[in-house]
């Protein structure tokens, strides 16, 4: 698939502080999650690809066109900034229609787009209240609304779920997935791992301004051969099962849960382990309730990569 956003050796300094270091990426249509702790460089990266700041080194292009000072590209880009800043004395409606004016839509189209966006984020009832009186969640939803109102092909969302309640989060995640199915390109940043996991499998891990890993989460996990996998088996006789595994060289460690009903096996060869497990279960008549991989998730990958 042809990439929509391309960066080459993108680097940014803030004085002596390195914000982003030598980032070369190609982002394709679909949802791409930018994941990293606070201060990792996520916002810097998003500001660079959306043309809000200039790179010190490198380039950033959208559909082959340089983004810095290229205002024409913004008719197709929606950006939701991280900072909580608004024209506080305006109402939600005035804010939306005012910004839509800059797209040269007709008055009727402006109104219909503003209405649609506010309906999506469930702010229609409060559209005539001044933004100063909005709650944190409402302000966040308004930010998302202004990013989507003009129906952009590329949507860049910097921590869009901040301040939203669980229901609000689900709705925005569902919206983002809908946009993905329409073929749009969505880049979402967050420091909350379950949020990103709920949206996409395609992630970019950033830490201290550098890209640590990029790609499908499971693919990244599998690549980390040095880091053993943990498999959890909840069964009727975990100790008997453990005794069968303990002699295998690909089993590095065996632990039991506090309830003594789960076996935790640390292995450096998941494939071999899973090929051995079923015959053992059958042979010794062990009732298995559940088999999971507790560290086959973003948290574990991230923790490992950032060295925790």
């Amino acid at each position: 698939m042809k990439s929509v956003i391309e960066t080459e050796h993108l680097s940014k300094w803030y004085g002596n502080v390195l914000g982003l270091s030598d980032v070369s990426l190609q982002i394709e249509p679909g949802i791409t999650g930018i994941l990293g702790p606070n201060g990792a460089g996520k916002s810097t990266f998003l500001k660079l690809i959306s043309g809000q700041i200039k790179p010190n080194i490198g380039t950033s292009a959208i559909k082959g066109e340089r983004i810095w000072n290229n205002y024409r590209l913004f008719s197709n880009i929606g950006f939701c900034p991280e900072q909580d800043a608004f024209y506080e004395d305006l109402t939600g409606w005035q804010f939306m229609t005012g910004l839509l004016r800059l797209f040269h839509f007709s008055p009727s189209e402006r109104e219909s787009r503003a209405r649609e966006a506010l309906e999506i984020v469930e702010l229609m009832e409060d559209k005539d209240r001044i933004i100063k009186s909005y709650s944190r969640g409402m302000r966040q939803r308004l930010k998302v609304a202004q990013a989507i109102a003009h129906d952009p092909e590329i949507i860049i969302l910097d921590e869009p779920l901040n301040g939203l309640d669980p229901l609000g989060r689900r709705k925005i995640i569902r919206l983002i997935k809908t946009y993905k199915s329409e073929g749009r390109t969505i880049i979402v940043s967050s420091h909350v791992l379950p949020e990103i996991e709920a949206m996409t499998k395609r992630i970019i891990l950033i830490h201290q301004g550098k890209i640590f890993a990029q790609g499908d989460i499971h693919y990244i996990r599998d690549l980390i051969e040095a880091h053993p996998h943990i498999v959890s088996v909840k069964c009727s006789d975990p100790r008997q099962l453990a005794s069968k595994f303990i002699q295998e060289d690909f089993v590095l460690n065996v632990n039991f849960s506090s309830a003594e009903d789960t076996l935790l096996v640390e292995t450096n060869n998941r494939d071999k382990f899973f090929s051995l497990l079923p015959p053992l279960i059958v042979k010794h008549n062990i009732e298995v309730e559940e088999i999971t991989s507790p560290d086959d998730n973003l948290q574990a990958v991230f923790d490992y990569l950032v060295g925790k």
């Binding site: 809000q52 205002y71 024409r72 900034p81 024209y87 910004l99 800059l102």
Partner: protein, 245 residues
């Protein structure tokens, strides 16, 4: 983006204060036995001086520096720079909006002052030429000063102090320098478009040593406006604004 703000109301009230003075003077004239001073004399000596040397400077300073600083300090610049509008257009648009606001506020004050002070001479249509001239000069002044302060606001973070020093230091002093030096003050060109009041305590404030020709003065006002606005556009387009956390 229009801003319904209390600041607008405050500045409007400030620009109406000379009207209050005019009203007090007029009421006093009606009530006292003294021979009344001609309204146009008071208008030229007082109102225009207050507007020209003080009010338009403050208005231009606040609104001019706000063009850029307001969006950066309020961190709302992102909403504007992520629209398909060039940065220059954004800057010029905001400049035009603020200048128009300031001109309207000032013009209302000047017109009301004029009408009040010349209440008994309103049918003398030759006086309206004076009013029109003064409104035009003040508007040109606002246009020029706001462009200059827009440029200052784009390049400097702490533009207000520089603006105050420029307005009430440089402009008030350099205009009285002989020779070509006085031409480095914007107020020199504005005063070149106005006649010198013959008498009055404030007549010295309207003195120009060697006035420029009206045509040259207008040309220079437009040139200064264009140059500073152009520079502001260029700087605003190329500068990156990093919001303070």
């Amino acid at each position: 983006m229009g801003r319904k703000s209390s600041k607008l109301k405050v500045f409007f009230l400030i620009s109406i204060l000379p009207v209050v003075i005019a009203l007090i003077i007029k009421v006093n004239q009606f009530l006292s036995d003294r021979t009344p001073i001609q309204g146009i004399f008071i208008f030229n000596n007082m109102s225009v001086v207050i507007y020209l040397q003080f009010l338009i400077l403050l208005l231009a300073l606040f609104y001019g520096t706000s063009v850029c600083s307001e969006e950066v300090e309020g961190k709302t610049l992102t909403y504007l720079t992520t629209r398909p509008v060039s940065k220059s257009a954004l800057l010029v648009g905001k400049y035009a909006a603020y200048t128009s606001l300031a001109i309207i506020m000032t013009s209302i004050g000047v017109i009301l002052s004029f009408l009040i002070l010349n209440l008994d001479d309103l049918l003398n249509f030759s006086l309206y030429k004076t009013l029109l001239r003064d409104v035009v000069v003040l508007s040109l002044g606002l246009m020029c000063y706001t462009a200059f302060f827009t440029f200052i606001g784009t390049i400097m973070k702490k533009s207000i102090l520089f603006g105050l020093i420029f307005s009430f230091g440089w402009e008030n002093v350099i205009q009285y320098f002989p020779g070509s030096t006085q031409r480095f003050a914007i107020v020199h060109y504005l005063k070149s478009l106005l006649p010198v009041p013959k008498t009055g305590r404030f007549s010295f404030l309207m003195v120009r040593l060697e006035p420029s020709s009206p045509l040259f003065a207008v040309f220079m006002i437009f040139l200064i406006t264009g140059v500073f606005l152009g520079l502001a556009c260029i700087l605003f387009s190329w500068k990156e604004y990093i919001f303070e956390d």
